[in-house]
């Protein structure tokens, strides 16, 4: 087990070996981002703009416009909400490719309060055209996402969730493609689409359901925008119940992306949205936060069971 941030730092270190044009721009978070080794090894590829996220995006856009493959990094609320207009104008509207990285998104920063938690980033970004949003499930997912992002032409947001000991979802190499969901667990009775840390919890929930004789398929819907419509169609054709599980407000994120597509698709399935139910949670450690928001494997399983009754 390894945390999202050191994994990200190692992935970017590795990427630097493959890409001459890499440039990392941060807002005074190199240590938090697992980038200290990168900063020391590649000082010429590292720009720290201080605690100034609006400037960070503009500087990143200027560098990217001159041929650099730029990754920006800071904590999710500041990476997205503090500079949302710059993201819209300098990156999306201008079609300038920068990979933005939101550290410690979701609820992991629970002890620090809701200034540092981030349950709004996907919702805010998803309404901006010309942006890709990826929320990897574990360390393997993060490495794959970092490398795939470097190859992409479109501005991308990488949403990192979870803590320093994220459980492993993928024990082997995976075929990872932005926009293409991965069916991890096959199942017949219902389909679960999950993103980020909630992929592991959904797999655990599926085990609990299996003990009760319910067979759930679990998908890693790592790309929230563009949503994998083929995967949603497949689920709608097969099952009456589609479940979305995310460490995000139920408004604006994975749940919304799936239901927006489902509402235009002729099917008989209904959707259960599991996420943070549009409130600011009380502060606390990560297990407390997940429990408060109904996101433990047991709660996810129970929620699904109730909706099947």
């Amino acid at each position: 087990m390894i945390g999202a941030r050191p994994t990200y730092g190692m992935a970017v270190m590795e990427l630097a070996k493959h890409r001459e044009d890499l440039m990392v721009v941060t807002g005074d978070v190199s240590t938090s981002a697992g980038l200290d080794r990168f900063r020391k090894t590649y000082p010429e590829k590292f720009v720290d703009v201080g605690i100034a996220e609006q400037n960070m995006i503009g500087v990143a856009a200027g560098l990217a416009d001159n041929g650099y493959n730029v990754f920006t990094v800071t904590f999710a609320p500041f990476q997205v909400l503090r500079c949302l207009d710059q993201i819209k104008v300098d990156l999306a509207y201008s079609n300038i490719k920068v990979t933005m990285t939101g550290l410690a998104s979701g609820l992991i920063n629970g002890p620090l309060g809701n200034t540092h938690c981030c349950i709004e980033d996907v919702g805010a970004l998803r309404s901006i055209p010309n942006l890709t949003i990826v929320s990897p499930a574990d360390g393997v997912g993060i490495v794959k996402t970092v490398f795939a992002s470097a190859e992409s032409d479109q501005p991308i947001y990488i949403r990192l969730t979870g803590g320093s000991n994220n459980p492993i979802v993928y024990h082997d190499d995976i075929n990872f493609q932005i926009g293409k969901a991965i069916e991890i667990e096959p199942g017949n009775d219902l389909t679960i689409f999950a993103a980020g840390t909630m992929v592991f919890n959904s797999l655990q929930a599926a085990k609990i359901l299996a003990e009760k004789g319910i067979s759930a398929s679990v998908w890693d819907m790592h790309t929230i925008k563009p949503i994998d419509e083929a995967a949603v169609r497949k689920a709608a054709d097969k099952n009456k119940l589609i479940v979305t599980v995310e460490e995000h407000n139920v408004i604006g994120g994975l749940s919304s992306a799936v239901s927006e597509y489902l509402s235009s698709y002729k099917g008989n399935s209904s959707q259960l949205s599991i996420g943070i139910d549009d409130f600011f949670p009380k502060p606390g450690d990560y297990p407390f936060m997940l429990k408060q928001c109904g996101l433990t494997p047991e709660q996810i399983a129970q929620n699904i069971l109730s909706s099947l009754e």
Partner: protein, 275 residues
């Protein structure tokens, strides 16, 4: 010593830009447009494009071209006309300004082939993009310069000061910020809406090399733009008159966003020396 012929050439170009400005503004009536702030910057733009900047209209993405960023994106009409005069935009394309489906809307959208280096309109963003470009030049060991034209009203935005802090930190002596100090903003005098005080002193205190000039005096503008300030970014506070060039609009903030009538169009043409 500045070449008098060059000054004359730039002054003539600026006059032609103002004349074209009237034609387009009148052609658009009864639709309003950003008039005053589009005229205070005409002499600065003419000096940049016809006396200072290195660029090649036949190779608009030439790696070592000087870059210009119109951070005060609403000052766009004088900018489009200048780009047309420089040869990036055809006269026919220029006439699509304000029309449906145009690539020349009321605030500029990045379009390298047409010489438009960045998207602007939401204020307070251009200087940061200029810093990114200037940093890229340093990292690539290229000699091009990045020029950013800002408004004094725009300096109300906090993001401006994030960028003002960063440029000296990165020792960007290849970055030049020009503040169009026309002392007005959308709804009134800057001193009434939000007093920003002594801009020269403010930039200096952040570590910039600063100079205050008459933003309509071509010789002053050329000197300020060509000054050597090794190690420091340069800020030029250009004192200007909003609506410069026409008696009815000079210093009159009613012309921030306004409609040009036939009567005033004719007066303006006369004041341009036309008939």
């Amino acid at each position: 010593m500045i070449d008098n012929a060059l000054i004359k050439k730039i002054e003539t170009a600026a006059l032609e830009v103002r004349r074209k400005f009237l034609d387009i503004a009148f052609g658009m009536s009864p639709k309003p447009l950003h008039f005053g702030g589009g005229l205070s910057t005409v002499d600065i733009l003419a000096t940049l494009y016809f006396g200072v900047m290195n660029y090649d209209v036949n190779n608009p993405t030439w790696e070592n071209r000087d870059r210009f960023f119109l951070s005060k994106g609403h000052s766009v009409l004088g900018y489009y006309i200048t780009l047309a005069k420089a040869g990036f935009i055809t006269d026919e394309e220029l006439l699509t300004y304000g029309q449906n489906e145009t690539f020349l809307p009321g605030h500029p959208v990045i379009n390298k082939e047409k010489g438009i280096e960045s998207t602007n309109g939401s204020l307070g963003m251009g200087l940061s993009v200029g810093i990114g470009n200037a940093l890229a030049a340093k990292k690539k060991n290229l000699s091009y310069k990045s020029y950013v034209l800002m408004g004094d009203g725009e300096c109300n935005e906090g993001s401006v000061w994030e960028a003002v802090m960063a440029a000296p930190h990165f020792k960007l002596d290849n970055l030049i910020a020009i503040v169009d100090r026309n002392s007005f903003q959308q709804t009134g005098a800057g001193s009434d809406i939000m007093e920003i005080g002594d801009l020269r002193e403010k930039f200096s205190s952040f570590g910039w090399h600063t100079v205050e000039i008459n933003g309509h005096n071509v010789a002053d503008i050329i000197m300020a733009l060509n000054e050597d300030t090794s190690g420091k970014p340069r800020a030029i506070v250009a004192k200007t008159i909003k609506g410069k060039g026409f008696s009815f609009s000079e210093g009159n903030n009613a012309w921030h966003h306004a409609v040009l009538t036939k009567k005033l169009y004719s007066l303006g043409i006369t004041e341009c020396g036309g008939d």
